[in-house]
Symmetry: C2
Subunit: 228 residues, 2 copies
């Protein structure tokens, strides 16, 4: 995103709005949206609450702006599912998807509460799930067409749904198992690897033998000693 | 649980404490724990805030008491996994498990927020996940021993984990798809059927043919027209 040039050494309003979003995302991800007030955000930014209010008159507008970015980025990424042909493509696609989810993990940490309080999220998140499901089906189709995968068409729908559930809630699962560390930056790499692996593992029984061996090799190469 | 006899036409303290928990559980399930204050609970019960406070001096004690019941009931139920031998047993076991989760669905609706605020839940929920995983592994073992299931031992662990993730987050998934209705009492039957079906569906590729046909027959018999 291009930055507006600064004027007279002062930050441009656009740059300030941008910086507010960046810091808010960081705080939401670290502490959870319910635990971050606009007062905390302005203190962290060393700006006055009035200045924050000038850019975002309510906390919901911060949430909505961040969600819009997430939704836009996700939409672009999901198109890549159409080009998945084998386990290697799928592995890369799922890792990229998990990185995107990780970058906006506050949305997933308190998803149900956010949905119950914010009408925009309530409707748009349904769209996010539909888009994810469509992308996973495209991935299954692409791998089937290329012969990497043999799946009974009656099982495609249910398998795609289970993959979306594991994809959507993997970080929550990691969080329950270790609430004090799971969502900290230093946990990212292992958490994302385990998530991508478990989503892909649902395909194992359907993979043709060489692809299956390739997936096991990938998983072994990337798995940390402690990983499950 | 036996009720203490009422004295002089007055409800016994024990009965009052019991009634407070029942009403709290209902309100938490309906509105979500973050949206239910102790003031609302006492109003709903037509008792004074002081009377509520006498029994439960803090909201966390209500949450803990409800969680203790959930944990106890779940513990008893999970032992039944040891006796699962075929798809029919597994179907019944998972339905019963989903009914228990449904009865305490407020815990799952705002799980991460509850964990971040309540030390008892933080530690005990890890135990709940471990117990669920152990039970699902026992179920896989029992079905393998009886020949209903053929699964490579290297895939058992990952399959059990995925089953636990789908089991744990199925209601959250239903909630995102339809936040205004998914957790209402009239949605229970279909939601629990879909949940049990999707958990079992993860076993389909490993089932021996007759068991596989039996699972499809069960799913067809119980699936509502709209179900996926």
């Amino acid at each position: 995103m291009p930055r507006a040039p600064s004027q007279d050494g002062q930050e441009s309003p656009r740059r300030t709005a941008e910086r507010i979003l960046e810091v808010t995302l960081e705080l939401f991800n670290r502490f959870g949206e319910p635990n971050v007030s606009t007062t905390l955000i302005s203190a962290e930014l060393h700006i006055s609450p009035g200045n924050l209010y000038y850019h975002y008159p309510a906390k919901d507008e911060l949430i909505n702006s961040l969600f819009d970015r997430y939704e836009r980025g996700l939409g672009e990424l999901l198109h890549a599912a159409d080009d998945v042909r084998d386990v290697e493509d799928a592995w890369f696609f799922l890792h990229t998807l998990f990185e995107r989810i990780w970058a906006y993990r506050f949305l997933y940490r308190d998803l149900n509460d956010l949905l119950s309080k914010n009408r925009r999220l309530e409707t748009h998140f349904q769209q996010v799930l539909r888009n994810k499901t469509r992308a996973i089906k495209a991935l299954l189709d692409g791998m089937s067409r290329s012969g990497a995968l043999h799946i009974d068409s009656r099982e495609t729908e249910a398998t795609a749904t289970s993959m979306v559930v594991v994809l959507t809630y993997w970080l929550s699962y990691e969080y329950v198992r270790d609430p004090r560390h799971a969502l900290e930056p230093e946990s990212a790499q292992h958490a994302l690897l385990r998530g991508a692996q478990h989503v892909l593992q649902l395909l194992v029984p359907y993979l043709e033998p060489a692809q299956r061996a390739h997936l096991i090799a990938l998983a072994t190469a990337y798995t940390p000693a402690s990983g499950t």
